[in-house]
Symmetry: C2
């Protein structure tokens, strides 16, 4: 709590509130059917919502068509131009993906007056929220936002993040979730000292083990973790104790080692031969 912290607190600002919006079985209206609309459909399908696409048939791109064909369970298409405010009845979110900015503005105004969250593609000042580049691995979702300062850069950063992940993060999250459920079966109750003890133990485990260790836990490993850890005074067992065999990264000797070793060998041999050759002559 020094002055540095004060300065930091005083400077907080200038960003957005990044959140994971819940749309399960909610209704989302998408006005438009082109490239942006197809991106929106994918994002909204991810969140298990029901989607109404309003766009004349000729305004649909191939991908939007495909979503309409293949996801009849979630996507309804109305082959018409946006017809008026009644299109917004019962909607929980509205997204416009139109070239017609005036129409977009009208739709945004109506949505606002009804307090329906709204996003208008390419008109940031009209948006209640922005989209961003996304990474998905099962239960793991990552969003990269440049706060409207360039989607291309967001995509470069997305690539960096994808390279940094092992691809086992989603699996690890699922397994830790299962372990937590098993723990709750053994130590029932909501909140209170028990709740805090559970949380503390899970935290200790997550801070000690590596993410990839969790990804390879099976049912019996989970039981063993609980038997050897939670049941024994809530200690944190080691990976070795549990006998989890994490698929270590393949121990291939990299070229970066073979090459200098070979060069060194050759150099050593030549120098030795030369030295011996010289000493023989003496």
């Amino acid at each position: 709590m020094d002055s540095d912290t004060d300065a930091r607190i005083q400077s907080i600002g200038g960003g957005s509130l990044l959140i994971a919006w819940q749309l399960k079985d909610k209704n989302v209206l998408i006005v438009g059917g082109g490239e942006v609309a197809s991106q929106r459909i994918e994002s909204i399908l991810t969140a298990d919502a029901h989607i109404t696409v309003v766009s004349p048939e000729h305004g649909l791109n191939a991908r939007t068509r495909r979503f309409i064909e293949l996801r009849k369970d979630r996507v309804v298409h109305h082959d018409r131009e946006f017809s008026g405010p009644e299109e917004l009845d019962g909607m929980d979110m509205v997204l416009t993906a139109l070239d017609d900015n005036d129409l977009s503005r009208q739709i945004v105004e109506t949505s606002r007056s009804r307090r329906i969250p709204v996003n208008a593609a390419d008109i940031p000042d009209l948006c209640d929220f922005y989209f961003g580049a996304q990474v998905r691995d099962g239960p793991l979702q990552i969003m990269i936002s440049t706060n409207g300062n360039g989607p291309r850069i967001a995509s470069l950063i997305k690539t960096k993040i994808q390279h940094a992940l092992s691809g086992q993060e989603g699996e690890a999250i699922i397994k830790v979730g299962k372990l937590r459920s098993k723990l709750k079966e053994r130590a029932r109750g909501v909140g209170g000292p028990l709740g805090r003890a559970r949380m503390k133990w899970m935290s200790g485990l997550c801070n000690t083990w590596e993410l990839e260790d969790f990804a390879v836990m099976d049912e019996s490993a989970m039981d063993k973790i609980l038997d050897e850890g939670w049941e024994k005074n809530a200690r944190v067992p080691t990976v070795e104790e549990i006998g989890i065999s994490r698929p270590r990264r393949k121990e291939i000797i990299p070229t970066a080692t073979i090459l200098p070793t070979s060069i060194g060998f050759l150099a050593g041999a030549l120098v030795a031969a030369f030295v011996i050759h010289c000493t023989r002559k003496l």
Copy 2:
């Protein structure tokens, strides 16, 4: 558009909609003043909103107190328990951070009836949206969501991501934004073929240059990029042409090279000496 894509499209779902919510100068009510409340205050301050904290003085933790003291420009504190639905008047978002689940539920119901987005800490099924682990670097914001499956794992993944970033991403985003503004000054107009040409050129540049190259651009480098690139038939100039001196990672010969080379040298020398020794004896 093969059957693989079909299968992928059919399997999309099970997640949230990750978005960057805009709260500039909006009003956010936070009910509660403890640890969770202080986290919420930080998130909401990041988005430049006005915050009303409703909590009895004794319910405030040190960090919440600090925000109230240091950010009088944005944070108002009412030293009382939540008094009723009128507290929600004029609010654009409501967050509860209470131990009292019944009160939380009441506040959520009132918020819902007024269509105010609401989050109740620790009661996921009552939330319009979830929070997640966050990384911030100026205009860059990254959110890691495990969709309610464990904040600890989110924090492990956050650390991975922080290690993968160079720390120059925020600066790169700002500079690319400036370059884009300069481009728009030279090639004015919204949308149409010119808009598409601008977008295509910026994309080309972002796909060719590295993020760290953008971070070190100064005004004159930006002008040169426009002169040598955009003005010359919208070609993409190289980093070398522009004469940008990116701070390359220090070219230290790593131990991983020195060691195998030395071992190789020694082994080579010994083998050569041995061979010569043997041949001499013959």
